[in-house]
Amino acid sequence: MLLKKDFRKINDWLWEVSKGFRYDMRVPARVYISENMLEQAFEDRAFEQLINVSCLPGIVNYAMAMPDIHSGYGFPIGGVAATKLPEGVISPGGIGYDQNCGIRLLKTEYRKQEIMPFIDKLATEMQRQIPSGLGKGHKTKLSIEQIDKVLENGIPYLVGQGHGTKQDIENCEANGRMEQADATTVSEKAKNRGGNQIGTLGSGNHFLEIQKVEEIFDIEAADAFGLFKEQIVVMIHTGSRGLGHQNCSDYLRTVMQAMPKYGISLPDKELACVPFSSSEGQRFFKAMSAAANFAWANRHMITCYTRRAWENVLDKKVKLDLLYDVAHNIAKIEEHIVNGEKVKLCVHRKGATRAFPPGHLEIPAKYRAIGQPVLIPGSMGTASYVLAGTEQGGPSFFSTCHGAGRRMSRTQARKTISGKEVAERLKRKGILVKCYSVRGISEEAPLAYKDIDNVVEVVHQAGLAKRVAKLVPLAVIKGE
């Protein structure tokens, strides 16, 4: 049983459990967290899961967790683990069921006072244009051919079809398309589940928010990102919908069944993994890449529908430019320096966001001198942050947190506060909430989550990313 005494303090923001703690650990486990938050985090089994992650064959340096750590499947949420190619493993649990769940931020040229008279109409129209996908969904269902094109070509395919602009490609992580994607590796079941779900939000903690820039911490970075105080922005949080979920389920079974033939045995079934270079590993990575492209396509279409909604309400052409889009459930092949050498790694980020440093070539040219934009949403009705990657992020393979992280179960949240009360409290703060049912709202109450300001403080102080701007919500839209 893991206790606080098993953690060695490296500095105020970083703690380590040595490899000797358990016989099957291949590397130490590290958590980026403050002492206060560390003590609270023992309540669920997340740390045990992190220890299990450190057993993965081929894992490099450390099994790491971010300050929003909480219990997941196999990997904890907020988990980062890199394995050395080609023989290091890939693990579907290191990505999650919602493959390429992620966040994007759209910028307007408006200030708060210009938009407030329209806020209710905008939120209503956005809810109308962007269904949750749990009910009526979209009338158009994509054909298998169209799904395959989206799976292999992501955002560039949709822009080529006349939806959106070149900037929508450039300002997206991976330019909205992972090249290794192969539509033949995604099952028919997954395509059936996803077929009419492009441009839908989903349920749970997915959302759309109309927000304003509350505070600027770094003027140079904010200027480069095109952010200013009182600016109205729109945040979109969703993933690969039923396609990605089915894809993960399919491959978890494949990988679980294949694992014994590679002589791998691990303490948790959900940690199932195979060597990256194995046929199953290759197929999974290609399928995950395809689902990732589907998720980017989804967030891209939601962007297009958002633009349409704003134009309908304001009755003119509206600039809603993409600042950036980040994935926070994904595995990427990246080169990092390990023991002084350049090494190719499979970096798993499960509820964790990439944060490349200034100068990195994958960052769009106009942001490159500043660092990669990082988007961190808070819990409903609290704050969100824009940050930038820093040079000090090397030890975490340039990874940072993804959100506030839950600290209370959904059942507990429902017992503690009603959805009606949550909506009332938000209303008193001047935040409009558009949702189908208040039941889902109680589960997403801010008190069920850690404090986003504390989580971001750790990330900023630890050098994983630096604060650029704080955003606050004006309207929360959760789908029809």
């Binding site: 669920d44 499947y73 196999g74 749990l134 979920h245 079934k269 600290r407 959904r410």
Partner: protein
């Protein structure tokens, strides 16, 4: 005997079901899962045949529930009864009876193996505990 109940878990949905035999615990877990989707049920009735094969009883339960989750979403229907024609530790052949749905209040992303339990407890009663990612 309570058919099912919803338990504590930080981020997701954990359901415990009971049954007098394996079929019953499987069906009661299904009922718990269906309730958690908060469906708006229509009058139109449906019947769907399924066939599942797995390596052991635990995997069989996960695969059974995953198939139901898939059918819920793709056919937009919810099930209230399972008629098992074949049932052993590795195989299920069954008919699912239910209704069409106009919308769901919740979606299940996946049925996980996390801390999965399917076993006999006291008095020969069967217990299953499954965690669903929502």
């Amino acid at each position: 005997m309570k058919k099912f109940e919803i338990l504590e878990h930080t981020a997701d949905l954990k359901i415990r079901a009971l049954g007098r035999n394996r079929q019953e615990v499987f069906e009661n877990m299904m009922l718990g899962m269906q309730k958690a989707l908060h469906p708006r049920v229509k009058k139109q009735e449906t019947s769907t045949k399924i066939r599942i094969e797995s390596e052991d009883l635990g995997s069989l339960l996960v695969d059974f529930l995953s198939e139901i989750n898939y059918l819920n979403e793709v056919n937009k229907e919810i099930y209230k009864e399972t008629r098992f024609y074949k049932f052993d530790d590795n195989k299920i052949e069954a008919e699912l009876l239910g209704n069409k749905v106009s919308r769901f209040g919740e979606q299940i992303k996946g049925v996980t193996f996390h801390n999965l339990k399917v076993h006999q407890i006291e008095d020969g009663l069967w217990e299953a505990i499954v965690l669903f990612d929502v």
